[in-house]
């Protein structure tokens, strides 16, 4: 009998079911790759110790440090102590835990260290069909390669350490079908912001998104990572894209990807990972990419987003909306374009890869950032940093007046010394514009690296198409 058509998600899920779900119990799902970092793992290791448990498969966990680590070279490589004591303790505790349990650590000075969601794909560890979890909600990024990847809490980190498994109810499936070409100056970041605007920030709750269609097929791997990264901003724990030749070409030759005969076997298995014709989704949404403009947020969640030439909407009687605009110091009905900007941040697991840095540098080459503006460029990994430096991108940023830092989460979440000041406006290529996200009282405008770079030049919110 012919097998019922399955979605990409169904196939990956089925391959990892240790025990299927029943009415009384969730499924026991096997985890292929477990990524840990210094902020959400200490309590998980403590839980192991409290219960007298060991790590079941240490080789399936990879540790790095990114969230609370400094980005100033002196504190990373120069022997200057980490300025934040508590962050230094987290770094030290991760080193101790990894040594004690035999877990591989790409530590502070390691040449392959970086933001956990940048290094997974970069090392070739993230592969199609794998289940990947991490104590970080942007684990959805890895779905760009056709993995089922999602964020978990620290107790679940302990569950994975102890059993290599998680208890999971099967989520629903949501297809986001995108067709049409992206216009000039419109990037993958603008695409995902437009998708979030369409779905709403809770629109994906309870679902795994599969991004499909000709527009998605045409994206390169780093663009796909940007899209899948922000699935959680639409409420979905995971976003996936079926692996194809673009995926295979990206992975070929990466240090932790299979090689030789194992590569051929892997390829054969990966080629089966597409949604079958006739497979059904619980919900489908269609988007026209050609209609998407460069997007920018104006409020305090990623769904509060408009085309850069648009006006901030009016919602009379909506007290929460009014409060968000009050926090942002912006007015309903006014344009966002030309609003003054104090800080520009290019970085984070959303937009810190080589292609992101190239696109920002292309706009900044031969230009200077506006007087009085602070601009931070933070590569997603040490490998990205070296590759950018090999192309001279660091010179472009430095000559434009920006700062060039060591890799890490940096200003995305303001817990490592890189913060936006109270009341200041930051155009940020990161993923969250929540109140205080980049520092207490900071006002975040999320946008693409192109829009961020263009706005840095003018010191005002700028449509990148006016400068290129």
């Amino acid at each position: 009998m012919a097998r019922a058509p399955q979605t990409l998600f169904d196939k990956v899920w089925q391959r990892h079911e240790v025990c299927p779900e029943s009415a009384a119990t969730p499924a026991v799902l096997y985890v292929d790759v477990h990524l840990i970092h210094e902020v959400t793992s200490p309590q998980a290791f403590a839980l192991l110790r409290e219960r007298g448990l060991n790590v079941r498969r240490a080789a399936r966990t990879l540790a790095t440090m990114d969230h609370s680590t400094p980005t100033r070279t002196a504190q990373v490589f120069g022997g200057t102590p980490i300025a934040i004591d508590a962050a230094a303790r987290q770094v030290h505790e991760l080193e101790e835990n990894c040594a004690r349990y035999g877990i591989e650590l790409l530590g502070l000075t390691h040449g392959q260290r970086g933001i956990v969601h940048v290094i997974g794909p970069e090392l070739g560890l993230t592969q199609p069909g794998k289940t990947i979890v991490c104590g970080d909600s942007h684990t959805s990024t890895h779905g760009a390669l056709g993995a089922l990847a999602f964020g978990i809490g620290s107790t679940e980190v302990a569950h994975v350490l102890a059993t290599q498994c998680l208890l999971q109810r099967k989520p629903r499936r949501l297809a986001v079908n995108v067709s049409g070409p992206l216009g000039a100056g419109v990037t993958a970041k603008d695409l995902i912001l437009a998708i979030i605007a369409r779905l709403g920030i809770a629109g994906g709750t309870g679902h795994v998104i599969e991004y499909r269609g000709a527009t998605i097929d045409a994206l390169d791997m780093e663009e796909r990572m940007t899209v899948c990264n922000m699935s959680i901003e639409a409420g979905a724990r995971a976003g996936m894209i079926a692996p194809d030749e673009t995926t295979f070409a990206y992975l070929a030759g990466r240090p932790r990807a299979p090689a030789g005969e194992a590569w051929e076997r892997a390829l054969a298995s990966w080629r089966e990972l597409c949604t079958d014709p006739g497979a059904s989704f619980d919900r489908e949404v269609a988007m026209d990419a050609a209609a998407i403009e460069p997007m920018i947020t104006y409020g305090t969640n990623p769904g509060m987003v408009i085309p850069i030439g648009g006006q901030i909407p009016q919602r009379p009687g909506d007290a929460v909306f009014a409060r968000a605009l009050e926090y942002m110091g912006l007015n309903a009905g006014e344009p966002i374009k030309d609003h003054p900007v104090n800080v520009v941040f290019i970085g984070s697991c959303t937009n810190s890869r080589l292609s992101d840095l190239r696109s920002a540098a292309a706009l900044l080459r031969g230009r200077r950032i506006a007087r009085g503006l602070t601009m931070l460029v933070v590569p997603g990994s040490q490998q990205v940093k070296r590759a950018a430096e090999a192309e001279g991108l660091d010179r472009v940023f430095l000559e434009a007046g920006a700062e060039w830092r060591e890799s890490g989460c940096s200003m995305c979440l303001g817990m490592n010394g890189d913060v936006v000041g109270r009341g200041q406006y930051a155009i940020s290529t990161s993923n969250r514009n929540f109140e205080g996200r980049q520092g207490a009282g900071a006002r975040t405008l999320l946008a693409s690296p192109l829009t961020a770079a263009a706005s840095a030049v003018r010191g005002r919110v700028t449509d990148p198409r006016e400068l290129s």
Binding site: R15, A23, G151, I152, A162, A202, I232
Partner: protein, 190 residues
């Protein structure tokens, strides 16, 4: 962790929709390496001013909120990051349940691992609770019911395993460990 069978408490109301985990516990407090002591930091940027003094107009700083163990919030509570610190901070402050029409997935999972009940109600019940802060309600986990002060009882959905974990005061790790033979077998097969 403490088993959760039945709870009667007054409510604290935060009517805002989309209260994200950065509001529940700002990232700068995530440099801790323990699970305790975060209650003082709960909703820190709403609760304290720039000098660290309590803002008298914030509900958790008011006398009426003392001892309340149930938080009622606008839709999509707990969206954003996976930080379990959000659940730890709520529990450390004394909350045992969050009532909303919609609760974000990762927060919901984290809450359940810590004996904090994510309780979903329909819009009319939520609207009534939001409009009547401080009322005394009773949650019965066994029955899956919420009893309002006017005597009305509404059911709430609770996944059976989540109910089991709350009633037993466990986080599911014991169940996973009981499946070790199946996990061994899976690893041999794949």
């Amino acid at each position: 962790m403490e088993a959760f069978t039945r709870l009667t408490s007054r409510t604290v109301v935060l009517p805002a929709a989309n209260i994200d985990t950065d509001q529940i516990i700002p990232a700068r407090f995530l440099t801790t390496t323990t699970r305790t002591g975060l209650g003082e930091r709960l909703f820190a940027d709403w609760r304290y001013d720039e000098q660290g003094a309590r803002r008298p107009d914030f509900v958790l700083n008011q006398q009426a909120a003392a001892g309340c163990r149930i938080l009622v919030a606008g839709r999509n509570f707990g969206c954003g990051s996976s930080r379990e610190h959000a659940a730890w901070a709520l529990v450390d402050h004394g909350f045992r349940a969050v009532i909303s029409t919609e609760i974000a997935d990762i927060f919901r999972n984290n809450a359940l691992k810590n004996g904090l009940l994510p309780l979903i109600v329909m819009e009319p019940t939520a609207a009534w609770l939001l409009a009547h802060p401080g009322v005394e309600v009773t949650i019965d986990v066994e029955q899956g019911t919420l009893t309002l002060p006017r005597g009305e009882t509404v059911g709430f959905p609770l996944e059976p395993f989540a109910r089991h974990c709350l009633l037993e005061g466990v986080d599911g790790l014991g169940f996973l460990l009981s499946r070790t033979a199946e996990i061994d077998d899976f690893e041999r097969r794949t």
